[in-house]
């Protein structure tokens, strides 16, 4: 009925929004590229990515492949070479993957900058790496054919060998030199799915051994002759400036080379440079600094929540409207749910603390960093040092996790490192952010408050939905604002609600973005961290009210075009049929499903309460990422992603501020899940698909928290609308 009466322009708006939102989800940084019409979504041409920049076939037969983005756990250093080697018919055992330095040629084909984020690695570089492999193979064949005086069509390839029609054979390593001189083919034919021998198969990681025997070097392990270590004393309140400081005690520490005030992206700080980390740390501990904190806003969690709750009572800028916003008013209160949700700031705390090494001299600079945004970080270092970007050699170092924390538009860590290096020309300086710097240093997932009014129809399905979201914009003031903020709404704050796959006739979403003196940043799965929690706990509450199976209820409510979620829920139902309805006693099952970054995920968890905490006996995941390039890696991402997602249900899973100061210092105060918090088992089922692949790094994160509390609600009869979870 409502569909018939929905004015056309709303439909148009919805489609427009979904396109924009889909772009945001698929690759947050599509924005940059959309600014140049005609470039977006264009299939990259082989010439745009010369094989020579990506593939080096050594005479010993080793094939060295450059990976155009950071490896920080997500497995791209294995998956992209798999795609390339598959098309190239390279001997997989001879493949070496390297992380490419910053260079235009290594830009993300969709985003237009060199970066990793938005679960875009495979989604954006799938065809690129296949084409690279196919081009290389064609060139090797052409070289062999010329040598043997045969037609290329008469040759075939297998495991790094070209075979000719008359039992000739030549190894790739022997052909490489002549092949490199040949022109890159205009176009190449990619393999059919049935011809792939690596892609689609469980493939172990290439970087395992070095990470198991201690030989893998990460950014923090960079060691250069004459290198110094730098720590920075940051202001106790964001943006504050040094009033005065006494460095006598700091300088008295043996090995301390320099102590000086320096500008920061926000406020000023005091740098301590020493021969070794421990000297730098002792010196910083002894530094007596006075800060001028009066001139900056002192954010306070309790006050902010109260302000946010007030804001949530009023409509914000419209993110999405469908049907009639007024329809809610005619629904009696007995058929309504009014729910208010609160989410705290969250820190990423990747295992490897933030760091960057810079060496600067008159001719240029060299940088070593595990960066999700090489392009921006390289530009930032160049700017600080008064150089052109191309004068800055930027090495991409293996990173110990990131989860968004190494994708910072203002490049504040690299700017600090460059500022210090500028003062010490010719001397490499490694800037280390200690764990305390990291926990207290901002760039958090923002706080959010959601206020949702749901009207329930006679059949128990939601017929009206009024939703206000309050939280800082992630992109305001960054280069991404122009494309991601529309009509005063930051797409990253409302994704997962505004574009919900549930067909709700009268649907009205608005958002407020207060400006707060706390730097904020995308946290693995971005807006979906909170939006999925709200949607999936409310939908579950509705299903319970309707006394309907939670999977059946979701399937009924999904819009017809939600193919991936439908497939996931159907697979989840099948894979959990033997036990899902028979959980008894002190155990209950919770379900959640959510699509993000183009990938659908459905999750069921079996939970009991032990020591006042949820114990996750098992989790089962059904995921639809399109074509599964490396199913083993997808399984790992799902298993790890749900555990990462549990950060926000941990009792100490919150960053809080009191009078401008962050109250947590380290993992003693902000405590992510350990092995006994994580699910005992995580079973992963992949929906068979030949669709274009989508990412898997972020999509598991949103589903786990709502699945857990949905199980808890079934055990305790209570609703859980604030995170982190207090004692059960």
């Amino acid at each position: 009925m409502a569909t018939a009466t929905t004015p056309n322009f709303l439909e148009v708006n919805r489609r427009t929004f979904l396109r924009m939102s889909g772009a945001a989800a698929g690759g947050l940084f599509l924005s940059l590229h959309l600014a140049e019409p005609g470039h977006a979504r264009q299939t990259p041409k082989a010439q745009a990515y010369p094989p020579a920049a990506f593939i080096h076939v050594r005479s010993d037969g080793k094939i060295v492949i450059q990976v155009n983005r950071l490896e920080f756990g997500q497995g791209v250093q294995t998956a992209l070479p798999m795609l390339l080697a598959d098309e190239m018919d390279a001997d997989w055992s001879q493949v070496i993957a390297e992380l490419a330095p910053a260079a235009d040629v290594y830009s993300d084909p969709i985003a237009g900058i060199q970066m990793v984020g938005g679960s875009g690695s495979i989604a954006h570089s799938f065809e690129q790496y296949r084409q690279l492999g196919a081009s290389a193979r064609a060139m090797l064949i052409a070289a062999a054919a010329a040598q043997w005086n045969v037609m290329p069509e008469q040759c075939r390839t297998e495991a790094s060998v070209v075979y000719g029609p008359n039992s000739q054979s030549a190894k790739y390593g022997e052909l490489a030199e002549s092949a490199a001189k040949l022109p890159v083919p205009e176009s190449v034919q990619l393999k059919k799915e049935s011809e792939l021998h690596l892609s689609g198969k469980n493939t172990r990681r290439l970087d395992s051994r070095g990470k198991c025997n201690g030989s893998q070097k990460f950014g923090l392990d960079v060691d250069l002759p004459g290198m110094k270590v730098a720590l920075v004393a940051h202001p106790p309140v964001f943006g504050a400036r040094v009033k005065s400081f006494n460095a006598d005690a700091a300088r008295a520490i043996s090995g301390v080379r320099d102590v000086f005030e320096m500008p920061l992206v926000r406020g000023t700080g005091v740098a301590v440079v020493a021969d070794r980390f421990w000297a730098a740390k002792q010196a910083r501990d002894r530094l007596q600094a006075e800060w001028n904190t009066a001139s900056v806003e002192h954010p306070d969690t309790a006050q902010l929540f109260s302000k946010y709750r007030e804001l949530a009572r009023t409509a914000g800028n419209i993110a999405m409207t469908r049907g009639s916003a007024a329809s809610m008013d005619s629904i009696p209160s007995s058929k309504r749910i009014l729910a208010e949700y609160e989410f705290p700031f969250l820190a990423h705390t990747p295992m490897e603390p933030l760091n960057t090494t810079v060496r600067f001299d008159s001719s240029g600079a060299e940088v070593w960093a595990g960066s999700q945004f090489q392009t921006f970080d390289q530009m930032a270092v160049a700017e600080v040092l008064g150089l052109k970007a191309e004068q800055v050699t930027f090495h991409t170092e293996m990173a110990g996790g990131g989860f968004g924390r190494r994708a910072v538009a203002d490049s504040h860590v690299q700017r600090e490192a460059a500022t210090i290096a500028k003062r010490l020309p010719g001397i490499p300086v490694k800037l280390i952010w200690t764990r305390e710097d990291d926990v207290q240093g901002g760039y958090y997932r923002p706080m959010f408050v959601h206020r949702v009014d749901v009207g329930i129809g006679a059949d128990g399905m939601p017929i009206a939905w009024r939703h206000v979201i309050v939280g800082q914009s992630l992109v305001a003031g960054t280069p991404f604002a122009a494309r991601l903020i529309k009509d005063g709404v930051d797409a990253t704050a409302v994704e997962g609600v505004a574009d919900t796959a549930y067909a709700i006739q009268n649907f009205y979403v608005s958002a407020h973005h207060p400006e707060i003196n706390v730097p904020v940043l995308w946290w693995r799965s971005v807006g979906h961290t909170h939006t999925a929690f709200v949607m999936e706990t409310l939908i579950d509450e509705l299903a319970m009210r309707a006394k309907t199976d939670p999977i059946a209820y979701r399937l009924k409510l999904l819009s017809p075009d939600a193919k991936k979620l439908r497939a996931c829920l159907t697979l989840l139902r099948e894979k959990t049929a033997s036990w899902r309805d028979s959980a008894t006693g002190n155990r209950a099952v919770g379900v959640a499903s959510h699509e993000s970054f183009g990938t659908g995920v459905a999750c069921a968890v079996e939970v009991s309460v032990e020591n006042k905490r949820p114990k996750i006996h098992r989790a089962v995941i059904a995921v639809d990422p399109g074509f599964a390039v490396n199913p083993l890696s997808i399984e790992s991402q799902m298993q790890g992603g749900v555990t990462f997602g549990m950060t926000q249900v941990m009792p100490k899973g919150a960053i809080t501020l009191k009078d401008g100061r962050v109250e947590q210092r380290n993992w003693d105060g902000y405590t992510p899940p350990y092995i006994n918090d994580a699910p005992v088992t995580v079973e992963v089922h992949i929906v068979p698909s030949s669709e274009k692949p989508t990412g898997c790094g972020e999509p598991p994160v949103p589903v786990i928290s709502p699945a857990i509390v949905n199980a808890l609600s079934r055990l305790t009869g209570k609703r859980y609308r604030s995170l982190p979870l207090a004692e059960i």
Binding site: Q282, D285, D668, T671, Y674, N676
Partner: protein, 205 residues
């Protein structure tokens, strides 16, 4: 008053039984705790001892649970530290994984020789991590069945171990501040211990 009567009576009776037991074990120089004129002095000494034993530096490792506690707020030991079969943790997460023979003031980790949790029989807390009352702790400390078979002399010796002495030199926290120490100094604690033992280790009910 009326209702207190039987409780008091029972208490005296229990105390008598415990005392007779103690008297029969501790012959010679240890006077009978029920009849000795030193009993009030012994009880006063015990209260001093209790003020030490109930201090976080001591009681944090006399828990009734499968974990030690930390800090003056006696929170559960962080990082999932567990008691283990002999009070020294489990194979890959032992007490000695962090706590060594001396305080590590530069990193804020306390240490002393033989760092370990007291056995459960020596718990001075209840299952909800509440400190047991003076009389209950007293009984635990004075009962060889619970205190690891220590008689008075052995108890004095136990109080002279480095681990016990550590409570008065507990080192610095990782922010550089000093850990708090028990309310009386070590010498006074030892004087009290000797007095209490001399008095036959009396306990209030």
């Amino acid at each position: 008053m009326m209702r207190l009567g039987p409780t008091l009576l029972l208490g005296v009776l229990l105390l008598a039984i415990v005392s007779i037991g103690a008297a029969s074990r501790e012959q010679g120089d240890t006077p009978d705790r029920e009849t000795t004129p030193n009993r009030p002095a012994g009880l006063a000494a015990w209260q001093k001892i209790y003020s030490v034993m109930s201090h976080p530096r001591c009681i944090n490792c006399h828990t009734a649970s499968d974990y030690p506690e930390q800090g003056d707020d006696r929170h559960r030991h962080l990082f999932n530290v567990v008691r283990g079969p002999d009070g020294k943790g489990v194979p890959a997460l032992q007490c000695a994984t962090c706590h060594r023979q001396a305080n590590a003031d530069s990193t804020g980790v306390p240490g002393a020789p033989d760092w370990h949790l007291a056995p459960l029989s020596m718990r001075w807390q209840d299952a909800a991590d509440r400190i047991l009352p003076s009389s209950a702790v007293c009984k635990t400390v004075s009962d060889p069945a619970k205190n690891g078979g220590l008689d008075g002399a052995a108890l004095i010796k136990h109080h002279q171990t480095e681990l016990v002495k550590w409570a008065w030199k507990p080192g610095l926290r990782n922010d550089g501040s000093a850990r708090s120490v028990p309310p009386i100094d070590y010498e006074e604690f030892m004087v009290a211990t000797r007095e209490w033992v001399q008095a036959g280790m009396p306990c209030t009910k």
